[in-house]
């Protein structure tokens, strides 16, 4: 009888352990490995100390779930924000801050001149062509991605 109760407990604990393992696996499948968000061709325009500039790149989401860019950061400038330039009638151009950008599964979003860009205000030193600029993009699921942008101008 005692042996029977002991077997019952072992069976019960095994079931609990299986359920726990299953829930952990489920939790893991809800997080997007960082490699599902990749950033390519990051570059930044030259800027003088205290000046403003913009970073451009391509975000690719190779995963099967959407992710959202929620912030951009850098310790190389006083203010860093995600912005977009937008067209208005009569060839006028405006610029506005963007709070978040969704990158759908299996898709790319290009940050390019005249469109989305990371706006960098008040850089702490001169950035000349050939230099590198460190920055971080923060995604809702992929977390923080540390990146480097090459300083250059379009040819």
């Amino acid at each position: 009888m005692r042996k029977h109760i002991c077997l019952k407990w072992i069976f019960l604990l095994s079931i609990i352990a299986l359920i726990d393992a299953g829930s952990k696996a489920q939790a893991q499948s809800n997080t997007v490995p960082k490699k599902q968000i990749t950033i390519n061709n990051a570059w930044i325009r030259p800027s003088v100390k205290d000046g403003n500039t913009a970073i451009y790149f391509t975000i690719s989401n190779t995963g099967d779930k959407p992710d959202t860019l929620i912030d951009a950061q850098s310790n190389r400038a006083e203010i860093v924000e995600v912005h977009e330039s937008y067209q208005m009638p009569n060839d006028r151009i405006g610029m506005r801050q963007v709070k978040s950008i969704v990158i759908n599964p299996k898709s790319k979003i290009e940050f390019k001149p005249g469109g989305y860009h990371v706006m960098v205000l008040g850089v702490y030193k001169d950035y000349k062509i050939g230099d590198e600029f460190n920055f971080v993009l923060v995604f809702k699921r992929a977390g923080k991605l540390k990146l480097q942008a090459a300083v250059k101008d379009l040819n």
């Binding site: 000046g51 006028r92 151009i93 610029m95 205000l121 001169d126 950035y127 101008d153 379009l154 040819n155």
Partner: protein
């Protein structure tokens, strides 16, 4: 006879049709300063030359550098093709911030060839008169205040490169940030031949 008349007509007026006079700076004399803090009389200093001008503010992170870079590409093309007597101007519509020193730094950090390129600023009434005549709009929008109290403004502005003839008349407008380099180089050549 009719054919000959048509050829003469096209010869005389064809180019004017392609490049109608949009505005005339020829009777204006604006006292401005360049990136070296030298007095420049605009447009007098450039008379006799074709001029390509863009309108910028140096705190602009995206569009103005793009338009300025397009001027750089045009300058390089014209130099490669040995086309002379063309001046370049980047005129700031933010004179409160864009001192000659700020303009000099903006050009220097980009390694621009300033042999035939002036970055111009001036007093606000003069700048406002020029941009109004050039049909360029520049309206202050968002402001940013840095930790040290420095305040800068963003602008909603016209994105423009402008072609000015040797008589200081505006002859054509292009969208500065997406300008077609080939088109502008061709237009400069056509206007020089005229």
């Amino acid at each position: 006879m009719r054919k000959a008349f048509l050829i003469i007509f096209v010869f005389l007026f064809g180019c004017r049709d392609k490049f109608p006079v949009l505005e005339d700076f020829s009777k204006d004399h604006f006292h401005l300063k360049n990136q070296n803090n030298q007095e420049i009389l605009f447009p007098d200093f450039a008379k006799g030359n074709i001029v390509l001008v863009n309108y910028i503010f140096t705190n602009c992170p995206d569009i103005c550098p793009l338009s300025t870079n397009n001027l750089r590409l045009i300058q390089r093309r014209l130099k490669d093709e040995k086309i002379k007597d063309v001046y370049f101007i980047s005129l700031s519509f933010d004179p409160e911030n864009d001192t000659p020193e700020a303009l000099s730094k903006f050009a220097e950090i980009r390694n621009l060839d300033l042999s035939n390129w002036q970055f111009l600023t001036g007093n606000k009434p003069a700048i406002d008169s020029i941009i109004k005549k050039a049909n360029v709009i520049a309206a202050k929008s968002d402001s940013t205040i840095f930790k040290n109290g420095r305040k800068i403004f963003s602008f909603i502005h016209t994105d423009r490169i402008q072609l000015i003839d040797a008589l200081s008349q505006i002859r054509k407008n292009y969208k500065g940030s997406t300008a077609n380099i080939d088109e502008i180089v061709t237009d400069v050549k056509s206007l020089q031949k005229n």
